[in-house]
């Protein structure tokens, strides 16, 4: 290796938005200025997953992990670490509530407990250079499948591995392929479902951005197994970087004879086309996605027949999620036994989760199936920030549910999650603390599904609207005693009567919050109070006269001029004019904390003086 050191600059969406590219330029300039251009190479990589700490730079071979770097830090970093050989402590990660930095990535709790299969190349290769993917065993699995395995053998391997669909429902991938392979009609098609619409989930974006070749390789292997020559990668339009990187990957693979006609000289043909989504959540549903590729409205249709029998243009079609495809190369390369050695009895391998919300270590984590929730939340995630208490974790997006504290020892696998009222979904994990109102969350999801309902079937179109209206009434302080029963009845009807997965799972957020947090609903209805101090109609902001120092800050920041007062005199909020935006609470200095939120009757009110977290 001609270079003594490599600087790996993370170029995922998170780091890019915090300035990864200017940082990279600054590093290159400084390295050139110090005459180290022939010794040290700066490389951009895909997303590391620890997005909150961006921009991230890793120094190889030592494995030193630098975070939240700024352009101004570059000269010092180069001088100290790269010239004098002294890693710089002040740019290293310090775990929450600790003082000592952790220099190496491998020792950081966030990374330590992860098990990388799909994300194995994250942070170490440049996703825009196929050579780097190949250097880490890339296309080995495909070569093995094309040169030394029959389609039946590939199928048997994937089936034996026990791989299940990572898009949510968890259907056995091998079984799906088998169904399609048995169909006589030709041509057959493959689709990669990259229409990741679940709010709070971004693993597919990250995989496509960090390792697009893994998806591509998985698809070629799948194509050989089912006998397809044409595939489509359907990628969400909101992910421009993923579209770009997949495009580059396809071009490069074609250029090297790894895609297109006569792949690796084996006579096998397969080509791939990118289709950009156009912004409709329902197009993540497989039959709707197929309609979208055909140039129609993304309307789902009745199943069966399944796409494996009657799919794109009526032909047999296998449609798998991004993460599912990206698992395939490793399964073929390392064997079914290796893969199925990981995970639980029915859920094999690993799963990527996006750990977000009220959690210290926000980011993307890949963990073995069966890991306990608390290990993810407290071990990897580092717990809840600002000394608040964990309340629930929402898993599975709009199809999923909220899992409360009592179930933190739940093993994370398809069956356990469904039993607990949530769902694997695509793997969004949104952590919520005491300041999150569960009724408001249920309303949030129902508004989402109601807006995204395509309108084809009545239970989903009308039912979700009715449910959202009831929830809005409750959060607005106008709920009545019979509302809860009505909600439950509607939820059952929507679940049973809807045409596709969107409607069938839409009531889950309501049902799971009713199951675990019924008392919060009751507080809204009978107590006319919001225990989490979120629902605007049920809360009020007050300036505590004994604490207010009269600094004018809240007064100046109030968008509706609802605060009266003079310098060094106590300020007063006009309750009729107040729009409850919380600006006063957020700007009141931490030492003063004179603004409080109240709910219910002021006499037995709950006081919260904590502002929303500001970036540190």
């Amino acid at each position: 290796m001609p270079y003594r050191s490599h600087l790996l600059v993370c170029a995922g969406t998170g780091c890019v938005s915090c300035g990864a590219f200017p940082l990279k330029e600054a590093l290159e300039k400084e390295i050139a200025r110090r005459g180290l251009g022939s010794e040290i190479l700066v490389v951009t990589t895909g997303c590391n997953g620890f997005c909150e700490r961006g921009p991230i730079v890793m120094v190889h071979p030592e494995g030193i992990f630098y975070q939240r770097l700024k352009v101004e830090d570059v000269p010092f970093l180069v001088e100290e670490h790269l010239i004098k050989g002294r890693p710089v402590q002040k740019f290293m990660y310090v775990p929450p509530e600790e003082k000592r930095p952790v220099p190496k990535m491998a020792d950081i709790e966030f990374f330590k407990h992860q098990r990388l299969i799909v994300l194995r190349n994250r942070g170490r290769i440049d996703p825009e250079r196929i050579e780097e993917y190949i250097a880490y065993d890339g296309y080995d699995g495909m070569a093995k499948a094309l040169t030394s395995m029959t389609p039946e053998e590939i199928l048997a391997e994937v089936t034996a591995a026990g791989l299940r669909g990572r898009g949510g429902a968890g259907f056995l991938t091998g079984r799906k392929w088998e169904l399609c392979r048995r169909e006589k009609a030709t041509p057959k098609y493959l689709i990669c479902n990259g229409d990741e619409g679940d709010p709070g989930a971004f693993m597919d974006r990250s995989v496509l951005e960090a390792d697009p070749h893994a998806v591509l390789e998985g698809m070629v292997i799948g194509a050989k197994a089912i006998g397809a020559e044409k595939g489509f990668a359907y990628i969400r339009d909101e992910y421009p970087l993923a579209v770009k990187r997949m495009g580059i990957a396809i071009e490069q693979a074609r250029g090297l004879g790894l895609l297109g006609s006569d792949i690796l000289g084996t006579g096998f043909n397969f080509d791939l086309e990118i289709v950009r989504g156009a912004g409709a959540f329902v197009s993540g549903e497989e039959t709707a996605l197929i309609a979208s590729i055909e140039g129609q409205r993304a309307y789902p249709r009745q199943r069966p027949p399944y796409p494996a029998q009657h799919g794109l243009w009526g032909k047999p079609t296998v449609i798998n999620n991004v993460e599912t495809w990206a698992n395939v190369p490793s399964i073929i390369r390392r064997g079914a036994a290796w893969f199925s050695g990981l995970g639980t009895e029915k859920s094999k391998g690993t799963k990527i989760f996006s750990l977000v919300g009220k959690i210290n270590n926000t980011g993307l984590v890949e963990v073995p199936m069966g890991i306990r929730l608390q290990e993810i939340v407290y071990g990897i995630g580092g717990g809840i920030p600002a000394g608040r208490d964990f309340k629930a974790v929402q898993i599975g997006g709009p199809s999923g549910g909220c899992i409360p504290k009592e179930h933190l020892d739940l093993p994370v696998d398809y069956e356990s999650l469904t039993q607990a009222g949530a769902m694997m979904g695509s793997g969004g994990m949104i952590v919520m603390d005491e300041d999150t109102c569960m009724v408001d969350i249920a309303l949030y999801f129902l508004r989402f599904t109601q807006e995204e309902s395509c309108g084809k079937c009545a239970p989903c179109r009308i039912g979700t609207r009715q449910m959202a209206e009831i929830l809005a009434r409750i959060t607005g302080g106008e709920g009545s005693d019979e509302d809860l029963e009505k909600l439950e009845r509607l939820a059952r009807a929507v679940k049973q009567g809807s045409l596709c997965g969107l409607g069938q799972t839409a009531p889950n957020p309501v049902l799971s919050t009713l199951r675990y947090f019924r008392d919060e609903y009751v507080a809204h209805i009978t107590g006319r109070s919001c225990p989490a101090l979120v629902c605007k109609n049920l809360i009020a902001y007050y300036v505590e006269p004994e604490k207010c120092v009269g600094c004018l800050l809240c007064l100046k920041n109030c968008p509706v001029n609802a605060i009266a007062g003079e310098f060094k005199k106590v300020h007063v909020i006009d309750q009729d004019a107040c729009i409850k935006c919380g600006a006063c609470l957020n700007v009141c200095p931490a030492k003063v904390r004179a603004v409080s939120k109240y709910t219910g009757e002021k006499g037995r009110a709950i006081n919260s003086g904590l502002p929303r977290q500001e970036p540190s």
């Binding site: 969406t13 998170g14 890019v16 938005s17 915090c18 997005c51 909150e52 961006g54 990741e196 619409g197 709010p199 709070g200 989930a201 971004f202 974006r205 969400r236 339009d237 909101e238 992910y239 289709v275 950009r276 989504g277 156009a278 912004g279 409709a280 959540f281 979208s292 590729i293 055909e294 140039g295 129609q296 409205r297 993304a298 977000v356 919300g357 009220k358 926000t362 980011g363 929402q394 997006g397 969004g428 949104i430 919520m432 999150t436 969350i441 949030y444 989402f448 995204e452 395509c454 920041n557 968008p559 935006c581 919380g582 600006a583 957020n586 700007v587 929303r612 977290q613 500001e614 970036p615």
Partner: protein, 162 residues
């Protein structure tokens, strides 16, 4: 007007007049002309030889198509779950107040369009707003004011420095 029509023709022929390419065609046209006018949609229908009703049904179904003109600056506020629990709704309301328009609207001087998006998949940055394609994470009211300052009509030239 004639240049717009020829744009449609150019894009349709790039897609080999394939009817199934209606969505990418509309995306490409909008990518160049910012929005889809009734004339444009009719032209696409003629060029592809499909009923205008079909073109309209697709164009009105998908959220990324805009059937009304958009502003010079596009402000998008993320309403994903992570952004929601970290106060995204308050950020959107703040943008609405500052720009004097509701989400989904364009200001009368065609300067700003305010949009809400369900999730941009950058949840670690929550709450998140995107202004003219630039991601701004950990949004607050104060930060929103600073960002909007950079896209003020009179100071448009100074955009992008941060």
């Amino acid at each position: 007007m004639s240049s717009e029509l020829s744009l449609v023709q150019r894009i349709v022929s790039q897609h080999h007049h394939r009817k199934r390419s209606l969505i990418p065609i509309l995306q490409d046209v909008q990518g160049r002309s910012q929005w889809l006018s009734p004339e444009t949609l009719d032209e696409v229908a003629r060029e592809l030889d499909i009923p205008p009703a079909h073109v309209y049904s697709v164009a009105t179904f998908y959220k990324s198509f805009s059937l009304s003109p958009r502003g010079r600056h596009i402000c998008t506020v993320c309403m994903g779950t992570a952004c929601h629990v970290r106060g995204g709704a308050a950020i959107l309301e703040h943008f609405e107040r500052r720009l004097g328009i509701k989400a989904g609207e364009t200001s009368s001087d065609r300067e700003y369009t305010l949009e809400r998006v369900n999730c941009l998949g950058a949840c670690a940055l929550a709450p998140l707003a995107v202004v003219d394609g630039r991601y701004y994470g950990q949004m607050s009211e104060t930060k929103a004011n600073q960002v909007l300052e950079t896209v003020k009509p009179s100071k448009a030239g100074r955009r992008g420095d941060r």
